[in-house]
Every structure is written in C-alpha cells, then in structure tokens.
C-alpha cells in the first residue's frame, strides 16, 4: 500500500493528480459494488436452484421488460456521469496555463533530453520548480516513445516530426521516476529519467549553476541565438538593424556624437548592458532592447563577450 493509503495508486504529486484519483476511486467503488452484486447473485442462484432431480424441468423464465429496461437505463446514466466527469478532468489535463514554464523534451533511443529556456540541456534528469505550471514540448528523434510520470498522472506519446505536449504542476517536493511507456527497442525498460521537483529558488540556483559545465564560448554562441541577437546583428559583415559584430573586438568605433572609442571588453559589455550609453554612428538609439542584458547571468555575459570577440 502506498503512502496515500491506496493499493492501486502511487502518491499524488501534481495539482490535478487527486482529481484523477477521485475518478479512479469512484469507478473502482461502483465497479466493486456491481461486481459483488453480480457474482453474489450468481453464487446464490447456483446454490438455491441447484439441480435436485434429473427429470425436473423448471418452468420457463419470463422475460421482464422492466428488468431489461432498468438494466439498460441505469448503467447508461452511470456511464454518462462518468463520461462528463472524465471529460472535465480531461480538459484540465489537456490545457496548460498560458504562463507555464516551458521545457523542451526529446526522446531518443534510449534516453531523455531536457532543454531549458536558457539553453541548459540535461540528460535523464529534469528539474522543475514546485507549484509552478510546467509545460513540456516533446518530440522524438528516432522512434515513438512515451513520457510517463505516474505520480503526476501524466503521459503522452513522443513522436518524430511532431510536437506533443503535457503539462503539470508539481505540488510535492521529491524525486519521481520518468518511464518510457511506448515500446522502443532493446533498452526500452532502461529508458528511465527522474523529475526533481524543488522549491522555485532552489530551481533557479540549480539552473544557473548548470551553465558551469558548458564552455564559455559555446554558452555565448547559444545565448546569442537564443536572445535573438542574430536578428539584428549579422556576423558575416552585412548590415542588419544593428551593426555587424564580426571583427568588432579591438577596432575604434565612431559614435553618433562624433567621439571615438576602442571596442574593448568594457565597451562591448556596456553596449550589451546599457545599449544607449554609447550609440554607434549611423544607428538610431533605442533600437537595441535595453532589457536584454538585465536577464543575463554574469557567466552568460562573459560567454557573450567571448563569443563576440571570437567572431572575425
């Protein structure tokens, strides 16, 4: 028996798990009552009406319209209740709140890959903030897989060439196993992952520390495309909305007020964190979003710097 007192169900650790459990327990209870009634009646009849004489032929049973009607109408009402109730919960399960935190999930033979909005990628270990809706955007690289966390009561197939999603909001801190439930070959049963549901602060620290493993240059390159710096800055010498960034390091820049400045680390750093402090000649101030820099971690900023300086 589980911690929650149920023989059948594992711990309920997501916001809607207990709704699913209520349904499950309801069907279980009603079924058990019906089952006992049917089997009990059967056993009673077998004993009560056992054959006493070989020549005895009972009178034919009469068809009872009423009984037939009851045995059709009653279950129909019951299943309609079930359907409606199930439908309501289903809607909850299939509609992720708009402010959900999104994690990209890739199923591969035979591991799970998780990618966070800041570019951090983990294998088989997924961290999620407690009490915050998390939406998984999933796809497969090779064959079908299926993402299943029993304690969250979520499952969905993961398919090549197509995105599928599940969402959940972890409500209890802990570690929960991720299973692959769509047969995917030799190591299907070894395609296990783990969700770590941790308080949000802890989650944020974890996420930032994840950068540590990535070489600065790679981190910078990733941030550059993730923050869409490349939408305004070309790195091949062409002009977009902003100046090209290749070959920037070390050259002397003319600013819109006519002064010049050497593009050293401090200058590049300032240009990212406070774009309008010094505006390059020929470009309008205020175009580059000033908020971009604020959300960068120090290490990400260092990465960007490294990356920009590496561009020739």
């Amino acid at each position: 028996m589980g911690e929650n007192g149920s023989v059948f169900l594992p711990e309920a650790s997501s916001s809607f798990a207990s709704e699913v459990d209520a349904l499950f327990n309801f069907v279980l209870a009603v079924s058990t009552v019906f089952f006992i009634a049917v089997v009990g009646t059967m056993i009673y009849f077998v004993i009560r009406y056992r054959r006493r004489s070989h020549s005895f032929v009972p009178a034919p049973g009469k068809d009872s319209r009423l009984l037939e009607l009851v045995s059709i109408v009653f279950p129909t009402i019951l299943v309609l209740i079930l359907f409606t109730w199930g439908f309501q919960v289903f809607i909850t399960l299939s509609t992720a709140p708009p402010d959900s935190y999104e994690i990209r999930v890739r199923g591969k033979q035979w591991f799970w890959e998780f990618e966070y909005p800041n570019g951090v990628v983990t294998v088989n270990e997924m961290y999620v903030p407690l009490n915050k809706p998390v939406r998984l955007k999933m796809s497969a690289e090779d064959v079908l897989h299926s993402f299943f966390v029993p304690e969250f009561r979520v499952k969905h197939d993961v398919i090549p060439n197509r995105y599928t999603t599940v969402w959940f909001e972890a409500t209890k801190a802990g570690e929960y196993r991720i299973y692959c439930t769509e047969y995917c070959g030799t190591q299907h049963s070894a395609m296990l992952g783990m969700v770590h549901a941790v308080p949000e602060a802890e989650f944020n620290t974890w996420l930032q520390n994840q950068d540590q493993d990535i070489p600065l240059l790679d981190l910078g390159e990733r941030i550059f495309s993730q923050y869409a710096c490349n939408a305004c800055h070309a790195i091949d010498g062409t002009r977009k909305i902003g100046p090209q960034l290749n070959g920037l390091a070390g050259i002397t820049r003319t600013l819109d007020d006519g002064s010049t400045v050497v593009a050293d680390d401090s200058y590049i750093r300032e240009s990212i964190l406070d774009p309008n402090a010094k505006v390059v000649d020929g470009f309008a101030p205020g175009l580059m979003p000033a908020a971009l820099g604020a959300s960068l971690t120090p290490r990400q900023l260092d990465g960007l710097l490294e990356y920009i300086k590496s561009l020739e």
């Binding site: 032929v57 034919p60 049973g61 439930t181 049963s189």
Partner: protein, 561 residues
C-alpha cells in the same frame, strides 16, 4: 435404434486414410484439423508466455537478454492474437457445431471451408518465416516506425496476418450464407441457438474489418519497396496513421474474439440451468449491434497517441455506449439461472468463471474508457491485465468450456469429471494469481513490454510468475485427461448434458458423415426445455457419465422433431 454406436458408420470411422483427413470437405473433420493446429499454436505461444513470466520473476537479467525477451513477447502476442484467439472458437467449434445446430449436412461451401483451413496454416507459416528474414520485434501492435526499422520481417508478419485474415473472411462468408440458407425447416431466427447468432455477428465483423489489414499491408509494401512516405516519419510519413489503420482492424478483431465466446456461454448457461436464456432477443440482436458499433471505437487506443482532444472525447463516449449491451448480457446470463435447475458440470464451471473474470475485464474496460484514467493507465501493466481478463478470462475460458461441452460429440468419449473440476479450479486460481497483481503493478506505474523493472515491483511480479505455473498446470492437466479420454474414456451418450440443440438431440453419439439421417424438423426454440420434458422423463440425462447408456435416439419418431 442403432445397436452399437462404435460399429456403426460415423464421421470418424467411415474412412481412416490420411488423405481423407487432409482433403476432407466434412465440416466436422475440418473443425478437428483446426483443433489440432490451433492447439499446437496455443501450446507454443503458451510456453513463450511461461518464459516471459520466468524472466520477470526478478528484476535484471534472469534467463535471457533483452533482445530475446523482446522477441519472445512479440511472438507470444502475434501468435496468441492472430493465430489462436481470433480463429479458435469460430474455426474449431464453429466449424464443428454450426451446421449441426442448423440441422444442415455441412456448411454452404465445403471446398471454401477447406481452403480457409489451408490459408490459415499458410498464413501462420508466413508469419513464422519472418524469423528467417530477421527479428520479429515491436510487440504484436507493430507500431511504426520501430517495426519498420526492424527490417523486412514486418512485411512477412503483416502479410501472414493478412492471409490468416483472409481465411477468416472466407469462413465468415461461409457461415453467413450457411446460416441464411441452410437452416432446417422450422428453425426460425427466433429459435436459433445463441451460438449461431454469435457466429453470425462474428462473421459480419470478419468480412467487414479484415480487408483493412490488407490495405495496411499493401501500404507497408508500397512504403518499403517504393520509398513512398506513408507511416515512416523519416520519409515524411505519419506514424500515428499506422495506429489508426492498425486499430481500425484490430479493435473490431477484439469483437471477433469475444462475440463467439458470448455464444458459447449462452449455450452452457442455458443447458446447465435447463432454462430459457433471459432476454434471448436482446442477447441475439445486441451481438449484431456490437458487431457494427465495434467499428466506431478504435480511437480509444489512441488517447495519448497524438490524436486530437475532440476525437478522444468522441471515442470515449462511444466506448462507454458499446459497453452497455455487453454489461446487460452479463445480467441476462445471471438472471437466466434464476429458478432454473442448475448443474455444476465442468463446462458450467467455465461459464461461471467466465462471468467472474469477464466482469472484471469489463469493469476495468469502463475504467479505461474514462479519459484521464486512461492517460494514467495506458501502456502500463494495467492494460496487460485488462486485456488478459477479457481475452483469456473471456475468450479462452469460454473456448475451454465449449471444448469440454462438445468433447463428447467430437470424440464420442466422456472425460474424467473430477479431473475436469480440479483443472478448472487450477485455472481459475492460476489465472487470477497471474494477472490480478498486474493491475496493481500497472496502476502503480510499471509500463508494459518491460524487460527489466524497478525493484519495488518485484514481489507482485513474483506472485504473477507463480500464478503462471499454476495456470500451466491446469492447462496440461486438461490436455492430459482429454487425450486420455480419447483412448480410455468412457463412451458418451448421444446427449450427455441434456441439451436441446440439434447437434445433441438429432445426431448419433458420433455423428454420421452427413450429420443427420434425415433433415430434422424443428418445433421449438433452442432453450425451450419446458417443451421437451419427455426428453428428461426417465433418463437421468445430463449426468455426463454414461453409467446407464442413453440409447442413440432414432431419427424418426422423436418426441418433438
């Protein structure tokens, strides 16, 4: 009155040559051919199941590696579903019994019937020949793209399934025509045994649904040989489309498995309660309704597969609705026993077991129809348990009941009743021990098709493995005493159970090659025991043991014919 049934001509002794068996057009002999081959398939696939359970006795590697294990569960599933459960009842018992229940000499197209048999054998061989080409891997559902990656073997397996399906179609067509055209005088639709009704509805499904697997095979070939992307995402195909195709055939096939079982249960409960089936019309017609509606619920296998939420909702509703007639049938069978005269012979034990096990299968089916519950339970061991309760607890238990019931008519011998009851008990205990724990491992999260599993599932898996041994002991015991009865069994009487259908009342202990000396004339319904009182007057009929030789009834001058 034929003096000694064993010396008179019957369908077994009129020609004993091998050729007369292999080229027989006699529906009874064809039934026996199927019985032999299908039993071998069952034996093989059953032994594979024991291996599966043995490997699962503890986590980690026990007796084989993952690749062997994966192939074994795949072959177990393919053989059990397509080569055993689907054909078992219609091809073995249906063939043997149907024409006699109709008062006919044979089926409408005896040659086609023989062709069906060889198509079945051919199809099974094609499936097995896939092993020569490569692995049989991917589970019996063969979801793309994994199954396609495995290699060309998928083409052989699906081709074999299609050929066996063709055998089903031909049998279906044959039965439909036979039932329409060859009923004895007086055998109106309302008097038909319910086994006939069930075979009729089964035949409808076979004829309508099986072509879909043919289309699927064709598309697989096109994709494989011409590289047209249909199911394979690497070619731009859609793997979910494959699942739609697969279940568009395989869900109706579930009804091919269960409807004939319903028919047998009606025969058993009617005979051993000596009572009319309560709601006969409902039981008969609901089978037909299920046959058609069964084509509309395939999507309940795809709730988490990437089908739209709207489609899932509709399929959930339809699934509930189709569950109702099935539930009502169970009520009908129980009510039939009310004020009956119930005798607990071995076949009846199977009928009662059916009511218990199939109810569990049915209730868990309703559970799975509820969308959010299915999301949690889909593709876990809960599903494995559920469909074994329906397929084994339903189909196989009914087939065993039917086999015991008609055994005296097939062989002329009566089996050992005590051993029969012991075996039934073993099967009941073994089955529940094997499969009930799987409901729990599944709902607690253990996925299906799992070679290895987390250690917290160990004790339940162990129970399940022990159960499989008890179940196997029961099966081997049955095989033992049935084979024994062939050689050493007491002679059965012509109608040992006191049944009212024509195969019992109007044929000899062993039927003659053309079943009836003279076409019977039917004057009562299949379960109108009260109109056949004289049948039970002085003979303690229905005791099953032939201590007081019931004489073969004459074809003429019978009380009600």
């Amino acid at each position: 009155m034929s003096a000694d049934a064993s010396t008179s001509v019957n369908y077994l002794n009129h020609d004993r040559s091998i050729k007369s068996w292999l080229l027989t057009l006699d529906h009874k002999r064809i039934g026996i051919l199927y019985l032999v081959v299908i039993s071998l398939v069952f034996l093989g696939a059953g032994i594979l199941a024991l291996f599966i359970r043995l490997e699962q006795i503890a986590p980690g590697q026990d007796i084989m590696g993952p690749d062997a294990y994966n192939q074994i569960f795949t072959i177990h599933g393919v053989l059990m579903v397509f080569a055993f459960i689907i054909p078992a009842i219609p091809a073995i018992l249906g063939n043997f019994v149907l024409p006699m229940q109709l008062g006919a000499k044979d089926v409408a197209f005896p040659r086609l019937n023989l062709l069906s048999f060889y198509l079945y054998v051919g199809g099974a061989l094609i499936v097995l020949s896939a092993l020569l080409v490569g692995r049989i891997d991917g589970g019996w559902t063969f979801y793309a793209p994994y199954s396609i990656r495995v290699g060309d073997s998928i083409l052989f397996v699906t081709m074999g399934v299609f050929v066996m399906g063709f055998s089903s179609i031909l049998t279906g067509v044959n039965f439909i025509v036979t039932i329409h055209k060859m009923r004895a005088p007086g055998l109106t639709w309302n008097r038909l045994p319910l086994f006939v009704w069930s075979l009729y509805s089964t035949a409808i499904v076979q004829v309508l649904a099986t072509p879909v697997i043919g289309i699927t095979v064709l598309l697989l070939f096109l994709e494989r040989l011409l590289g047209i992307g249909i199911f394979d995402p690497a070619l731009g195909g859609d793997p979910v489309l494959f699942q739609h195709f697969f279940w568009f055939y395989s869900h109706p096939a579930v009804y091919v498995m269960i409807l004939p079982a319903f028919g047998i249960i009606s025969e058993l409960i009617g005979t051993f309660s000596r009572h009319r089936i309560f709601g006969y019309r409902f039981v008969a017609l609901s089978s037909i309704a299920i046959a058609f509606l069964g084509a509309l619920v395939w999507g309940h296998h795809l709730f988490v597969a990437g089908q739209s939420a709207l489609a899932s909702t509709v399929f959930s509703l339809l699934t509930f609705l189709i569950g109702i007639p099935t539930g009502v049938k169970v009520v009908n069978w129980v009510v039939t026993m009310h004020q009956g005269s119930i005798q607990l012979r071995t076949p009846m034990l199977y009928a009662l077991m059916f009511l218990i096990l199939f109810s569990i299968g049915g209730f868990t089916g309703i559970m799975l129809g509820v969308l959010p519950i299915d999301i949690h339970l889909h593709d876990t061991y809960f599903i494995v348990a559920h469909f074994h309760y329906v397929m084994v607890g339903g189909n196989v238990i009914a087939a065993l009941g039917g086999l015991h019931y008609w055994w005296p008519k097939i062989t002329g011998k009566i089996f050992n009743e005590t051993l029969g009851r012991i075996a039934a008990g073993l099967i009941f205990v073994g089955f529940n021990l094997t499969f009930f724990p799987q409901f729990i491992t599944g709902s607690r999260g253990m996925p299906r098709r799992y070679y290895d599993y987390p250690v917290e599932f160990e004790s339940l898996n162990q129970l399940s493995t022990y159960g499989s041994w008890v179940l196997a002991a029961g099966m081997f015991l049955i095989a033992g005493y049935l084979l024994h009865s062939l050689f050493k069994g007491k002679k059965a009487s012509a109608n040992p159970w006191g049944s009212l259908t024509l195969e019992w009342t109007h044929t000899n202990r062993l039927p003659i090659p053309h079943n009836f000396e003279r076409t019977p004339i039917v004057t009562r319904g299949a379960y109108d025991f009260h109109l056949a009182k004289d049948l039970f007057k002085d003979e303690p009929s229905g005791n099953g043991v032939d201590s007081h030789q019931v004489p073969d009834l004459e074809q003429e001058g019978r009380p009600e014919a």
